[in-house]
Symmetry: C3
Subunit: 292 residues, 3 copies
Amino acid sequence: MKNLVSMKDLSVEQIMAILTQAQAFRDGESSNLTKKYTMTNLFFEPSTRTKTSFEMAERKLQLDVLPFETGFSSTLKGETLYDTVKSLESIGVDAVVIRHEQNNFFDELIDKVKPVIINGGDGTGNHPTQSLLDLLTIQQEFGTLENKVISIVGDIAHSRVARSNADALIKLGAKVNFVCPPEWQGEFNTVNNIDEVIESSDVMMMLRVQHERHDGKTSFSKESYHADYGLTIEREKRMKDSAIIMHPGPFNRNVEIASELIECNRSRIFKQIENGVYIRMAVIEMILKGRE
Amino acid sequence: MKNLVSMKDLSVEQIMAILTQAQAFRDGESSNLTKKYTMTNLFFEPSTRTKTSFEMAERKLQLDVLPFETGFSSTLKGETLYDTVKSLESIGVDAVVIRHEQNNFFDELIDKVKPVIINGGDGTGNHPTQSLLDLLTIQQEFGTLENKVISIVGDIAHSRVARSNADALIKLGAKVNFVCPPEWQGEFNTVNNIDEVIESSDVMMMLRVQHERHDGKTSFSKESYHADYGLTIEREKRMKDSAIIMHPGPFNRNVEIASELIECNRSRIFKQIENGVYIRMAVIEMILKGRE
Amino acid sequence: MKNLVSMKDLSVEQIMAILTQAQAFRDGESSNLTKKYTMTNLFFEPSTRTKTSFEMAERKLQLDVLPFETGFSSTLKGETLYDTVKSLESIGVDAVVIRHEQNNFFDELIDKVKPVIINGGDGTGNHPTQSLLDLLTIQQEFGTLENKVISIVGDIAHSRVARSNADALIKLGAKVNFVCPPEWQGEFNTVNNIDEVIESSDVMMMLRVQHERHDGKTSFSKESYHADYGLTIEREKRMKDSAIIMHPGPFNRNVEIASELIECNRSRIFKQIENGVYIRMAVIEMILKGRE
């Protein structure tokens, strides 16, 4: 693993190795890096938890982190992403995390620049560290992914979380349902009725309604979305005893999920965020060690 | 002391303990923390000196500081402050400093999230570390607050500095005059004539005219405000020999204070800023130690 | 050297000492500072490579770096640059790097504030660390500046790079041609035809067309500028065997330089960026040591 841009590039063995190392970090292991590295986080789209999670992971690994304000950089003067990253390479940056609104932004970088490229989210494409932290959370819960039924509910077509998770979950033996309104189905085979899957799912993975990615043409009512596709208080009661609730955040309370369920017993939402730090430590360390 | 959101929560003993510890830091004492902590500064309103002062205090205490660009975070996607802080808790943040335009923003956080909450300024409400640094500056000057006459002049109704200081100064035995135009008086008992207090005050504490908090309806002339309520060169000459000038900054030169007085012999304006770093070190250390 | 704001302030001996120290850092020497210092970088104009380069240099020197978001500071409340820097002085900042749109912004600071002032670019005025890294790059190539022919091509009138380099190059014995369209010539003696200098130059230093500094009144065609003043693939073939290409970045591909030449054998563009880190380390260390 020389970079991490898509879950498709990872074998089952690589995924399991990352989960194992992340769990080791969670259990208290500290960094095994012997050299000093410098990283930069280039977030061209707003982010709280992913960016802060990477910042924390980098500090826990004792890396130097150069600040980079994307809203105040030479991209404003028309500089290409390639030229920006190539400049950071010359400055001595060893690895960059990039979130960018353009799908597959990394195609112009991989094998063309020296710094490690870690995808922090590309348009509606991939979000591999989110997918890995989801896998870790499910594995912690059930010990395995094998034969677990995961229902991903929401804006499937626009969700990089759905896309990243689809491959990985199936690769690891889980069964995946996609649930969404017909107009958000994209290239996926989906179920249009959440009530068909609520009782049989081990994991209800609710996605954020991404108001900012829609064109505003269609009429959208929070109340009717909540009634039709949301995890309501009523639906939660019909879930299997052992089933859990997940959400990548940030959430719209009372849209895709009832506000009262965010911190209920079944919710692993904040545990997902905890796991994110350890997953990112594992990914960064494994890639940098591979280059030592 | 588990958090610091308002001066009202502090006893006289607690205030004196903070001042004593701040003075010890000023005299060269270094951090007594034995564990490693991570902090984040969430400034939802512009700030130079308060934010930079906290950043410096945190580094002097050898804490890890996660950067957080509020203008580029998930609050843009509608995330609540509670959800943001709860996410930072999961990421492993031990304490947050928050400045927010909403009065009492902390009500939705205190006793509901694990990280320490330190108020860096809430709307027109509180600004406790500013108040503490003001107290330290006065104490350094006169050895005591007892019976000192402090005249706070300016935009009393909109000033969190006035509000924070009112309680604390009186609690510590000082006599406080509020001086302002009738329309800025708010719930305070005020004097409308600065010339009534100029000769009897030990401290002239000038407040910034906050152009950005006014509605622009009223005609406001810098020249006439300076003449009527400003600390002019003429008025400075009538102050008691031992009296000092304070201002929380940033200042409007030649509006609330004559430009030439900013660095005059009586001015403690930049000493206030120096003290701010030590006050913040003391507050952060005392709260974190209390949790060890 | 107590500050660095313009190349005009540096003697030939001082320039050579900086280049020597920068080369030593490049060859692996580490910081010789014995005290702990705190720096802040105030960039009031967008920047990628200069800001990140300073951030890297400061970390390599093991300095503490306070973050400062200029777009979210008290300058929004009308605070002057002097008052901002004076406040940072009180907070304990030892040195500031400033980029500002106003020419000679440093006139209100030098000898009036304690922190070291390093100019990171002032309006259309100076950019001394860029000039120094250019000198180092040329010296590495040819061993000396003496009698080398440097052709600076582009937006001479608006370029702080041209202005900073003019003095320094001539002081060190180089011969400088300025090449530009008549309307961009400013106070310089210029050649209007790039083909007059292409075969005799040791260095072709191409400047960025600064679309953001022009008033948009004149019609400007990228294609005709490239044909008339750009370093085209055809022109590169007519350069001397030993001649090199430089550019301060960020570049407009296929405007001032053909995209294919950015990473060609003659190009020292990314080496310039590498050198920038070492130059900035040398400048910061020499000034801070001078104050110890």
